[in-house]
Assembly symmetry: C2
Homo-oligomer: 227 residues x 2
């Protein structure tokens, strides 16, 4: 890790968010779990601290956590993505928002069903405007792999966003979570990671495996370009 970042994981009480929060806290970042219900957030932070054996994480109401953080990570279900962010718009101003949302439409979650704007992260950026730098990342990493912070994960993280500095930050945070982040280009390219999750779910079912993932081949060095 090159520097400590203060991160609020909104929806960090869920499986995906808590796994990322755990790994970032262990790597030395200041991590807050954000939830509409601050008591629920505190309980989740407490649970993660118990697993780490150190009181590294805290919980907060999302608004307070976001206001205090440099970087915000959104890990809520697709159905809650837009409403959650609408309520945080003012405190998100000027920040980097890493959106992990996968636009799955139950019950057919193994079938790609793109949202009206093709990418739900592109739609989020449009709703927030240029004052928030939105980056797409972590859609294809299974929550249950993230859970054990010592477990290595055979999956790359496609990072898409229109701001190069924000992409570099997300790539760095992927590395701090034990993953290889890959610069995947402009935010429009988020379509790939958002749709890939359905294909991975299909592959899990078809091949009877727990956790299909992806690797980008042809990049020799494991550490990605950081700028």
């Amino acid at each position: 890790m090159t520097e400590t970042t203060s991160i609020c994981v909104v929806g960090g009480t869920g499986a995906e968010g808590s796994g990322l929060a755990l790994r970032w806290a262990k790597a030395g970042h200041r991590v807050t779990i954000g939830s509409r219900d601050p008591a629920k957030a505190a309980a989740a932070a407490e649970e993660l601290n118990g697993r780490l054996g150190r009181p590294l994480l805290s919980g907060a109401a999302s608004r307070d956590g976001v206001a205090a953080a440099e970087v915000v990570v959104l890990t809520v279900p697709y159905a809650a993505q837009m409403s959650t962010v609408e309520g945080l718009k003012d405190v998100l101003a000027g920040k980097i928002l890493i959106d992990v949302t996968v636009p799955l439409v139950p019950p057919k979650v193994s079938r790609v069903q793109l949202p009206p704007a093709d990418s739900c992260v592109v739609a989020l950026q449009a709703a927030l405007g240029e004052g928030v730098r939105v980056v797409s990342a972590f859609q294809n990493v299974s929550a249950h792999k993230l859970k054990d912070p010592d477990k290595s994960i055979d999956c790359d993280v496609l990072v898409a966003g229109d701001d190069k500095e924000a992409r570099a930050l997300a790539i760095r945070l992927a590395g701090d979570a034990g993953l290889r982040g890959i610069d995947a280009g402009p935010l429009a390219n988020s379509v790939v990671a958002e749709s890939l999750t359905s294909v991975l779910i299909w592959i899990n079912r078809t091949y009877k495996i727990p956790d299909a993932g992806i690797r980008i081949t042809g990049i020799d060095a494991v550490p990605p370009a950081s700028s």
Copy 2:
């Protein structure tokens, strides 16, 4: 290879199509290069035969090649995809069509720009109707890797289609071309492979590498499920 298949590669005079044709001919399939111009098709087949040192491939006008083949593989540029197939609709009836088309929109080919139907292969299936079983495959394998039939390629082939038997055939043909085919689900899931090519082009440029590809992780055995 389990059995010999007669394959017509429409657009097989191009780089992607000729690489696949070469590999399938070498694996023992009966391969015809199809082109609007039969002389051009014959010349391309001749050139490939020269490289193989054996007269394994033939050339034909696309209509004739398609009429005589069991399986048709479409490797024309996106701009020519629909018009090419419209003219072959009657001879395609009852066959399996493997569509390799990537909906790139120049000049911004490293940016995902989805077609109106999200997937250009889904649009093709809709245009052809249920009488033709359309499968999507091979979008992410670079032509220059295919060119040398002895070169191993570090890239999986996502195979999407609504017909299970047609998917299994495309997976088998991927294997015969020296690639690992992966069952990626219904045709709608073709969005992933179609959009991924732009991301791979972005990665090639950003990381200054010639040929980014993808691997699906978590599937232990290299040979895919064949049915």
